[in-house]
């Protein structure tokens, strides 16, 4: 056996395996996909789902590939019938206890499968155009359907189960969004695929034909529709009266389709003035969407009398001629109980009929018409004769109807449709006098073109089925002629619009395959789990979880205003109404629908939820945690959440309760998650393969398909890669992506849950000037001019510039350039580090890297609540501890550290500074220092030793709050540790404390050695950038001293200026407090809102002119005289320097909300000072690179220096890194956790 690799036979091929590798890893490396639910590469193999099983020769049964490690000569089969069967059964067994819905019943019921829950979510967010885009994926006629759909979705809506007994106004919401989109300037237009060069002929411009036009044109085919009538719409126009569907709406939606390039040719009737011969020569495929055009008569004796019409002919005729009937003084009898009957009776009323009867042989309960239609017709004066059947039409002398003899009916046994069959009551005949009879009983398909087609083709035969409709394959809608497809009423017989649209989509799918030369197969139906597969849903299943909320009723024309054809339903009054109605959606479908592995595999393996039906568990969803919800109904017990919480996070907040079939996941000790050791990091969410653990969102999550926008986190200084999953800028959720620092794609609570600000609409988008106490919008030009004037009006050093630690390097660079080269002042700084000394500037060199944490032999956390503040680094520490058994020591001033349960030893101190200083003192006093390292690498030892020897060790111990034994034990343990890494946080440890730690790392000789030394945890994403970009009164770009003349010369050349101010003696805080500053410019910081001490508001307010650039109106912005809008990093792109000085670049991934982005604002202000030459952030970055010191690999390492400090300097002035975004999230987090 080779030490290098193992010889494996994988599916008959010889491949090389790595020792220790699992079969799953080997297969993945070799491009073989094996399904798995319980495996996560971040975790130790587990093997519970048994979906990943494979066969290994010589091993009994199947082997879970995720935990079976390779051995020399292994022969593996990853797929065969036996494996497929096992995987499928594993899935079916899981599904048999998966009491959950993939999709809401609305979408499940909709014949066209419109994503109702998705569009309701988008309407909730005010993204109406996106809602329409989503609807049009499956239904190109939302404004029409929003008016006249029969709404099977609403019948199934679970809101019906709650008290108010009314479904969500799904259709009204659709209409609302559709009308909004129609009226909008930039309405939704679908992307059209590149032209395929194929042409499709569509027969009929009804809902089916129009839909085919849309679907096929979008796919890049040229669609020509041939329509027998003079106008488009079919029954939409000729059957549905205008008071329900105004022609204007119809025309607009048709136009939306023809605008895509679909052509409609009118007065073309197949078999009459259009022959299939012409079509087959010019077109590659034909789709028959001919509808069902012939009305059925009353079907009784005498129905050939005059003034007896079929209802649809009556309606059609009126639309064709444009003439309204005048029924004044007449009595109309409408026979039938469907929607056509409703259209006829309500139209008759509008034609001024004296009396309108609806004669229906069953009762109102059995009427197929929409209840709302029945209700409105009654309001309008229609009278109903239920349980009545016309038996004979009696003619007058002119042969016209005079009376009609009816017979009473009673309901007998249910028939095949489930409705009770009406039976005549003997001897109950009676006559009524009528002037017109409109028979709305049924329709038939007119197929008189069939001969024309069949005589002009040799490719097959178009057939008619036994109901007289076109015979097409039920699944593909292909007819007997391979290139001819059919859809809609012509296939199904008279049905609904939404069914015609659904069929149009199927036929389009098949026709597309036909055109592309592909095999014609129906689009696969994804697996969907349904609660109804377990039991009928009843009120009790929902009543406890949801509150009642009355349905927003549709405003209608007053009944006495309806003697016309004006639209009766007026549409929702406004956005608030729509928003309110969206809140009624119960979100039955699963949030994880688009990324659920269980659903995906169940589709792949054609699993049947009822395959192994039996007992199942029903759980209450645990909503107690404000960000994380646990739905055990969806849990498959892979334990990934439990394991990641233990193995990676180290919190152990989740566990398994009970045994066997009764097992479920719950927070440890059965408490609410937030009362456990949960750190709210959401790592459990990141690993859940189903929707069992998900984010508890404050908005309707849809779910909808989102765009993944990768960027770098702008909270702490680790620099994690993440993906903002958004739809046109609305961020639906955030997930981690494997990045340079977070190689596993782990992110923390800040990244995962701290995105609400990205969706906040109260952004500042344009400059504002305070005029008489209120802010008024001004133009950017005006703003820049004011700034220029103000700067020029004062002495250079009366200006002061502040840049926040969250800005990009490019912004920081431009700000200091503006100060130095524009305003000619060196007053540049950041409130974040103000008044905190120079210690943090020095803590950055020769540090250990995050990657080395796992190689440590002992890890020390000094003042770091690493699980809460820098959790991703915390995961690395916990992972080293749980997987590698690396002990962790915590040095803390806190009595109750949140880290207590995650460390092996706690040293409680009163002061980090004095504790470390005492340790240094001890090491030197006892000659335990690493003399070799100090001699070769470090300056200043003797001075340091001398100074230290003057200090009273006992006093140090006292200030440190520890005994000598503690110091001794720590000092000796750390000093002797082979690989000792100290992580400390700038948030807790002072600048001088940081220097003391650097000294310790030098005295022990650990600095710069691999897997040894220090790791600094800065508070903000680009705190390091402040040092690197010259946000300092004494240092320039690259941290170079402004006393360095060569550098100054270089700067002047680069900036093409003659003078640049040198170092500034006075601390900026002193300048501020002495009133020396007349203009202050604050970029991306909120010193007023974040201050701890309470003095900054006054200091800032007294400055005569204050400019603040930020995203929102922060407390500081409110105190400003001029406010500029800022762009989020994801809106401009750029770079951050993380706490380890790694430059992390990210692109612009979101559209900039301000009309001019932050970078261009700065570039333009610079221009006003004649500083030209920068066009965008790339130019800025190049300029930065030119100014950075060139690293010389061969140069001897610069010497380090021990720095003696006398006292601590814990002068933290601001919380939250002086950043409004951090403050906002932390406050929100606290508040939600408190609730």
């Amino acid at each position: 056996m080779s030490d290098q690799y193992l010889n494996i036979i994988l599916d008959g091929k010889i491949v090389k395996g790595n020792p220790g590798e699992t079969i799953l890893q080997l297969a993945t490396r070799n491009g073989i996909e094996i399904p798995t639910l319980c495996n996560d590469e971040r975790l130790e193999p587990y093997s519970s789902c048994f979906v990943c099983v494979v066969e290994v020769e010589g091993m009994r049964g199947h082997q879970p590939s995720c935990s079976t490690r390779l051995t020399e000569g292994m022969k593996i089969s990853t797929y065969n019938e036996s494996i497929r069967k096992s995987r499928k059964m594993a899935l079916e067994l899981m599904l048999s206890n998966h009491y959950a819905d993939c999709l809401g019943p609305c979408t499940q019921t909709c014949p066209a499968g419109v994503d109702v829950q998705g569009y309701i979510s988008l309407i909730e967010k005010g993204n109406y155009s996106d809602a329409i885009a989503l609807i049009k994926e499956t239904n190109p006629l939302p404004a029409i359907c929003g008016r006249v759909c029969v709404r099977p979705c609403e019948t199934e809506c679970r809101r019906n189960l709650l008290d108010e007994g009314a479904p969500v106004g799904i259709d009204y919401l659709k209409r609302f969004a559709a009308d909004w989109d129609l009226a909008s300037k930039d309405k939704f237009v679908p992307d059209i695929q590149p032209s395929t060069g194929k042409k499709v002929a569509v027969i009929g411009a009804g809902p089916g034909g129009l839909s085919v036009g849309y679907f096929m044109q979008v796919q890049g085919h040229q669609v020509d529709i041939f329509e027998a009538a003079t106008q488009p719409g079919g029954w939409l126009r000729y059957g549905i009266p205008e008071y329900r569907l105004p022609n204007d709406i119809l025309d607009q939606e048709v136009k939306n389709i023809t605008d895509l390039g679909v052509q409609i040719f009118y007065n073309k009737k197949l078999g009459q003035n259009l022959s299939y011969k012409e079509i087959t020569g010019k077109y590659d495929a034909t789709i028959l969407t001919i509808g069902s055009q012939i009305g059925t008569g009353v079907g009784c004796e005498g129905d050939d009398a005059g003034n007896v019409y079929s209802g649809i002919d009556f309606l059609k005729n009126m639309e064709m001629t444009g003439q309204r009937y005048d029924f004044s003084g007449k009595t109309i009898a409408v026979v039938g109980g469907g929607n056509t009957a409703m259209d006829c009776c309500r139209t008759s009323i509008r034609c001024h009929a004296d009396k309108v009867y609806v004669i229906y042989r069953r009762t109102e309960k059995e009427m197929p018409a929409n209840p709302i239609e029945i209700h409105e017709s009654k309001l309008e004066g229609v009278e109903y004769m239920f349980l009545t059947l016309p038996k004979r039409v009696n003619k007058n002398a002119k042969g016209e109807v005079e009376t009609v003899t009816c017979i009473r009916m009673e309901l007998g046994e249910p028939d095949a449709s489930g409705r009770r069959r009406p039976v005549p009551v003997e001897g109950s005949e009676f006559d009524i006098r009528v002037d017109y009879i409109l028979a709305a009983i049924g329709q038939k398909t007119d197929v008189n073109f069939i001969d024309d087609i069949n005589t002009n083709t040799s490719a097959g035969e178009l057939k008619i089925n036994k109901w007289g409709d076109i015979d097409a394959d039920r699944h593909t809608l292909q007819t007997g002629i391979p290139s001819v497809f059919a859809a809609g009423d012509g296939v199904t017989g008279p049905a609904t619009i939404i069914e015609a649209i659904a069929q149009a989509r199927i036929a389009s799918h098949s026709a597309h395959q036909c055109l592309m030369g592909e095999e014609i197969t129906p689009a696969g139906k994804p697996f969907t789990s349904k609660r109804e597969n377990f039991k009928k849903q009843v009120k009790e299943d929902y009543a406890g979880t949801f509150v009642n909320q009355l349905r927003e009723e549709m405003p209608v024309l007053e009944a006495d205003q309806r003697m016309n054809f004006d639209e009766v339903e007026l549409g929702y009054a406004g956005e608030e109404v729509a928003l309110h109605e969206t809140q009624r959606c119960l979100e039955c479908g699963c949030n994880a629908f688009f990324d659920c592995d269980l659903q995906q595999y169940s589709t792949d393996y054609n699993a049947d939820q009822k395959g192994y039906a039996g007992a199942y568990k029903e759980y209450q969803v645990d909503f107690r945690h404000p960000y994380i919800e646990i739905d055990n109904n969806k849990c498959i017990l892979c334990s990934r959440c439990v394991r990641i919480c233990r193995e990676v996070v180290g919190a152990n907040a989740l566990g398994l309760v009970n045994r066997g079939f009764e097992t479920f996941v719950a927070p440890s000790m059965g408490e609410a998650l937030q009362d456990s050791d949960c750190e709210s990091c959401g790592m459990c969410i990141s690993t859940c393969p189903t929707g069992a653990i998900s984010e508890n969102m404050l908005f309707k999550p849809g779910p909808v398909r989102t765009t993944q926008a990768e960027t770098i986190c702008n909270y702490c200084s680790i620099g994690c890669s993440l993906s903002l999953n958004h739809l046109n800028g609305f961020v639906m959720n955030v997930s981690g992506t494997p990045g340079q620092v977070n190689e596993d794609g782990n992110i923390c609570r800040f990244s995962r849950f701290g995105y609400a600000y990205l969706n906040d609409r109260s952004r500042i988008t344009s400059p504002m000037k305070r005029i008489n106490g209120t802010f008024e919008k001004i133009t950017f030009e005006q703003a820049f001019q004011i700034i220029h004037e103000k700067i020029m009006a004062v002495d250079p050093d009366e200006n002061a510039f502040f840049a926040g630690a969250r800005l990009t390097n490019e912004e920081m660079y431009l700000i200091q350039k503006l100060a130095r080269a524009g305003a000619k002042t060196g007053n540049i700084g950041s409130f974040h580090y103000l008044n905190r000394g120079d210690g943090y500037r020095m803590d950055e060199s020769l540090n250990a890297s995050f990657g080395e944490i796992g190689q440590a032999s002992r890890i020390y956390l000094v003042g770091s609540e690493i699980n809460m503040d820098n959790a991703v680094a915390g995961f690395m520490v916990s992972n080293a501890r749980t997987k590698g058994n690396v002990p962790v020591v915590l040095v803390t001033t806190k009595e109750e550290s949140a880290m207590a349960h995650k460390v092996d030893q706690i040293i409680q101190v009163k002061s980090y500074y004095y504790f470390i200083k005492a340790v240094n003192h001890y090491l030197l006093a006892n000659k335990l220092e690493n003399a070799l390292f100090l001699r070769d690498r470090v300056d200043g030892l003797s001075e340091y030793r001398d100074q230290m020897s003057t200090e009273d060790f006992a006093a140090q111990l006292d200030k440190a709050g520890v005994t000598e034994e503690v110091v001794k034990a720590f000092a000796e343990q750390y000093n002797n540790e082979l690989n000792g890494i100290i992580l400390f946080s700038e948030k807790e440890v002072s600048g001088n404390g940081s220097i003391a730690l650097m000294n310790l790392a030098m005295i022990s000789g650990k600095l710069g050695k691999s897997a040894n030394g220090l790791i600094v945890l800065k508070e903000k994403n680009n705190a390091q950038g402040l040092f690197d970009m010259g946000i300092s009164r004494n240092y320039g770009v690259g941290g170079r001293s402004l006393t360095d003349q060569a550098y100054m010369k270089c700067l002047m050349e680069a900036w093409k200026v003659n003078t640049i101010p040198g170092p500034v003696g006075e601390c900026l805080k002193v300048n501020l407090s002495q009133g020396k500053v007349r203009n202050i410019f604050i970029f991306g910081e909120d010193p007023v809102g974040c201050e701890i001490t309470g003095s900054y508001r006054k200091l800032i307010e007294q400055i005569p002119f204050k400019v603040v650039q930020d995203y929102f109106m922060t407390d500081t912005a409110l105190a400003a005289d001029l406010v500029l809008p800022a762009s989020f990093p994801a809106e401009i792109g750029g770079t951050f320097s993380n706490t380890q000085k790694v430059i992390l670049e990210f692109d612009q991934v979101l559209p900039s909300r301000p009309e001019m982005d932050s970078i261009h604002q700065l570039i333009n202000i610079l221009k006003s000072f004649g500083l030209n030459g920068l066009a965008g952030r790339e130019d800025v970055f190049s300029e930065i690179i030119r100014l950075l010191p060139q690293t010389d690999e061969d140069a001897p390492a610069e010497k380090l220096a021990l720095i003696y400090t006398h006292d601590d300097n814990s002068n933290r002035s601001f919380n939250y890194g002086c950043d409004y975004i951090v403050k906002r999230f932390e406050e929100d987090f606290e508040e939600r956790m408190q609730e």
Partner: protein
């Protein structure tokens, strides 16, 4: 010689009232100042005759059975005082033909060599019976670890926990893995319903287990030992603790044991919470580590990465008990018992419809028939022997017609059952095999840890089918569906629990398919166990017309006049069985 009176105080004895017997004899001895020595011992295997009192005097050994306090007075009075053994109560003696002589004499006692023959709480008595001599010999004769392993290998000893893996080989692997720390674990998590040999051994001979573990530790180079014993065995734990304390005191545990340099080893007891799955070695290790008792994938085997990820050797109680005997008597002596591939003896716990329920130790190779008929005394109440369940819920049923199968790992496996830990549940004609399968599956369902999909859900689905079948709702295709599920569960589970859970169903289908079919197709339970499948009729001859059944019938399905034979209206009858249990005249006929 002084007469010795020994009372069996194993759990079985105590349950039968042996403490009262002991107290009575003690009181008698004190009050009447009688001259005999009174001792305690543990179970000798004859559990069905407890309380047992053994009297050894100049004339020989006598074991009295069913000695309650009252009988104890009579026995002491007559036998000890008057030297007049009470023949009627003697169940075993080497002097004349007693009822249980056959039971005792057909056994070969290697494992149970001390059980019932000494006071388990006395290390002196253990030492007097060659206790700790095996380890002493290793130390004194400087027998190397490899040589010890070689002896065990040669003896042919296979794991008695059920797996049957060669013990010597297991030790060899554990020895081969280098590590600063290694562990020896004794698996005393006896969980099979009907099996109690480990408990009896721990209660009756704890030192042998300890000695076996010490030898194993020596052989593999272990530094620590754990006895994983279920908390439901308080007496076993108590006696183990006493034994461990005594062993430490005498230097059998601790540092430089018996003068062997750097042989440092101690044992502690980990009490398990009684989860069946914790008998599976990886789950057992997780449980010892304080985690939820769930198995993980092997390899790596514990020999490579076990407790705290260190090489670990796990053997069962019975396996360890064999070790000192093998070292002292030699591999050949051990291998002289048994068959070609299964050497030595096997302890069986006889339970079910057998006359002599208790513990027996028999040489491998004996037929099942002999175990049941000769040692077990045949079936209770003279009923017909139908089948025997070997190996508990992981095992399977062997039908009567295969009862000539010999006790040997491979022969038993060939039937579809397994040797298991030695539970032997005997069934007679009144046992419904579908019901038996349901019983065992119900057990495994409840004991599944819930990790693997197939075991967690699949066994529930199987159980549901069995419940349906026994509830008159069986459907055509149910047998096939059971088989389909069974094979998938066996193929797709991590540990022994899941891999064997379907065995009782599969073997009963294999040997008693007709019974399944009777349930499903004919809606009949041939053994008349499954109530919903029975027809209740009134024997018109026997019925006295007492009206008790009529009054108690919850469905009002019984009609009749006083003193006239009653009738059951089958349309109304819900097969609840109340009439059957209420009738004092056996007049309700089940068909």
């Amino acid at each position: 010689m002084t007469t010795t009176v020994t009372v069996g105080l194993g759990s079985c004895g105590i349950a039968a009232g042996a403490n009262k017997t002991y107290d009575k004899i003690k009181a008698l001895k004190e009050s009447e100042n009688l001259d005999f020595s009174l001792k305690k011992t543990s179970c000798i295997g004859m559990c069905y005759r407890e309380p047992l009192v053994e009297i050894v005097d100049d004339t020989g050994t006598y074991i009295y059975g069913d000695v309650d306090a009252e009988r104890a007075i009579e026995v002491i009075e007559k036998h000890v005082n008057q030297q007049d053994p009470v023949r009627d109560y003697i169940v075993y003696t080497d002097l004349f033909d007693a009822p249980e002589n056959g039971f005792m004499n057909s056994q070969v006692k290697i494992v149970l060599r001390n059980c019932g023959y000494m006071d388990p709480e006395s290390i002196d008595e253990y030492e007097a019976r060659e206790g700790y001599q095996a380890m002493k010999r290793i130390a004194e004769e400087k027998i190397g670890a490899d040589q010890v392993i070689e002896t065990i290998l040669k003896s042919g000893l296979r794991g008695r926990g059920g797996g049957g893996f060669p013990t010597g080989l297991k030790w060899k692997f554990a020895r081969a893995n280098q590590s600063d720390e290694k562990y020896v674990i004794c698996n005393a998590d006896e969980g099979d319903p009907g099996a109690f040999m480990d408990r009896s051994i721990l209660e009756g001979d704890p030192h042998s287990v300890v000695e076996g573990m010490i030898i194993a530790a020596y052989a593999i180079g272990a530094t620590g030992g754990v006895i994983y014993c279920r908390a439901e065995y308080p007496l076993a734990i108590k006696r183990l603790n006493i034994a461990l304390g005594q062993a430490r005191q005498r230097g059998y545990l601790g540092n430089d044991i018996l003068g062997v340099n750097d042989f440092n080893f101690d044992i502690y007891i980990k009490e398990g919470a009684g989860a069946f799955v914790c008998g599976e070695e990886t789950a057992l290790i997780a449980s010892v580590e304080g985690e939820r008792g769930m198995p993980r994938k092997r390899p790596p085997f514990p020999a490579e990465s076990g407790l705290w990820r260190k090489p670990t050797n796990i053997n069962n109680v019975e396996t360890f008990n064999n070790i000192p005997w093998i070292i002292l008597n030699g591999a050949e002596a051990f291998a002289s018992w048994g068959t070609e591939k299964s050497k030595g003896t096997k302890v069986f716990a006889l339970a079910g419809k057998i006359r002599n329920s208790g513990l027996v130790e028999v040489p491998m190779g004996i037929t099942i028939h002999d175990v049941i008929m000769k040692l077990g005394g045949g079936i209770k109440e003279g009923k017909k022997f139908k089948a025997v369940q070997l190996g508990g819920p992981s095992g399977g049923c062997i039908p009567q017609y295969l009862s000539e199968t010999i006790v040997d790992y491979d022969s038993v496996n060939a039937t579809g059952a397994i040797m298991g830990s030695g539970g032997m549940v005997v069934m007679d004609e009144s046992t419904c095999m579908v019901d038996v399968a349901k019983f065992f599956l119900d057990f495994t369902c409840k004991e599944s840890c819930g990790k693997c999909t197939f075991c967690r859900v699949g066994t529930v689905r199987m159980l549901e089918i069995l419940e349906r079948i026994t509830n008159r709702e069986g459907r055509e295709g149910d047998i096939e569906k059971l088989e389909e599920l069974a094979y998938e569960i066996k193929d797709n589970s991590l540990c022994g629990l899941g891999q064997t859970a379907p065995n009782p169903v599969l073997t009963t289908i294999k040997y008693f398919r007709d019974e399944y079919e009777a349930h499903i197709i004919h809606k009949k339970c041939p053994a008349k166990v499954c109530r919903p499948l029975l027809t209740y009729t009134v024997d018109q001859e026997q019925c006295t017309g007492c009206m008790v059944c009529l009054k108690n019938c919850p469905a009002n399905a019984i009609t009749g006049e006083r003193k006239q034979p009653h009738l059951v209206n089958q349309e109304l009858c819900t097969q609840c069985g109340v009439c059957y249990s209420k009738c004092k005249f056996d007049s309700i006929i089940l068909t």
